[in-house]
């Protein structure tokens, strides 16, 4: 009997869930999940949940640093950025760092999901941390989700991200591959992290 898991599962039941993922850090997961969530929030009630428990970038991106989530009878109240709800561990620990042994990660992640007030919410977007660990295992235990795997076109990033694409394909949970074509316009368009060719073989290999 696992009360935390039970509550987390039931909270997500019936919601449309997207997970923005990558095995590599700094590829634009938080940027892309934020933009995506803002877009969806114009269409239906959406909450963005930041699962990166060590960086908590979302509070920094949206300007909620130093703020604490309200906690009511329905749970943790998301911060509001226009019509988008935002939940981050940063709204629980304020400006403290989060330093934890690996065995504690899953419980913190499950808590963040279980205790969020999701009433009237139709869509949940998860901003996942780098790596291939608890975040993937926890999500899979709790819900079906639509994976968006983010990479830059650099060769190293593409190779690292292939681990995750391979894993998801094996689990019959085929991802959408989002290539962060961050570019620079200084008279001509330049792509500092590489050209699209680096990604094509990955796309073709996993269809």
């Amino acid at each position: 009997m696992e009360p935390l898991r039970q509550l987390a599962k039931e909270k997500l039941d019936g919601k449309k869930v997207i997970a923005v993922m990558s095995a590599k850090g700094g590829v634009g997961k938080s940027i892309i999940s934020s933009l995506l969530a803002l877009s969806f929030s114009n269409v239906e009630n959406t909450i963005l949940i930041d699962m990166d428990i060590h960086t908590m970038a979302t509070t920094k991106l949206f300007g909620f640093e130093g703020k604490l989530h309200d906690v009511g009878k329905d749970g943790i109240e998301p911060f509001k950025a226009n019509s988008l709800g935002i939940v981050s561990l940063g709204g629980i620990v304020k400006d403290n760092y989060v330093l934890l042994p690996g065995g504690n990660n899953e419980e913190v992640m499950e808590s963040l999901i279980a205790y969020t007030n999701m009433k009237n919410t139709k869509r949940i977007i998860f901003d996942l941390p780098p790596g291939l660990g608890d975040e993937v295992l926890v999500l899979e235990r709790l819900t079906k989700y639509y994976p968006i795997v983010v990479t830059t076109p650099s060769k190293v990033s593409v190779k690292v991200v292939e681990y995750l694409v391979k894993y998801l394909s094996e689990r019959n949970n085929k991802p959408l591959l989002a290539v962060n074509m961050s570019y620079f316009d200084c008279g001509k368009i330049v792509h500092p992290f590489g050209e699209i060719e680096n990604v094509k073989s990955l796309s073709e290999k996993y269809n």
């Binding site: 935390l4 039970q6 509550l7 906690v71 009511g72 749970g75 205790y115």
Partner: protein, 147 residues
């Protein structure tokens, strides 16, 4: 107010269990809670009694045991309990107020506690969150189901 979410988690879990085990009426639910989460027993019971209505838990009593988990420092080997870090816990609680981090998420303990002997955050503990330690049903006497 986090107590309401804790009650919600307990109720949903027990209802799910009752459904899977064809149990019609539950008399008592025993739960364990780490002492350092400082959950308010009165609020927890109030939330439980409010949310259990019109369910298989209608007549159920909530029996709460506050547990005193042992912490172990992985840096120097020292073991301690939350009474050994009372000053640290008080300090965090005063910084945050009622809904302090370990109230909401006991698993965050290593981030907020330092070993009283060497100062390291490299701390592990066995019990971290709420547990359901026993359920008593009406029908055929006592049934214990441990989480």
């Amino acid at each position: 107010m986090h107590e309401w979410s804790v009650a919600d988690a307990i109720i949903r879990t027990v209802i799910n269990w009752a459904s899977e085990n064809h149990v019609k009426e539950i008399v008592k639910v025993k739960v364990g809670i780490p002492s350092y989460s400082f959950l308010d027993l009165e609020i927890l019971k109030e939330a439980f009694d409010t949310m259990k209505k019109d369910s298989v838990l209608d007549n159920a009593e909530l029996d709460v045991e506050f547990k005193e988990p042992t912490f172990k420092c992985r840096n120097c080997g020292f073991t301690f309990t939350s009474s050994d870090v009372k000053d640290q816990l008080d300090s965090v609680r005063s910084e945050f107020g009622e809904e302090y981090p370990l109230h909401l998420m006991p698993a965050l303990a290593p981030s907020f506690l330092k070993c009283p002997k060497c100062g390291s955050h490299d701390i592990i503990t066995q019990t971290q969150d709420i547990t359901i330690d026993g359920i008593e049903v009406k029908e055929s006497g006592t049934t214990e189901a441990v989480s």
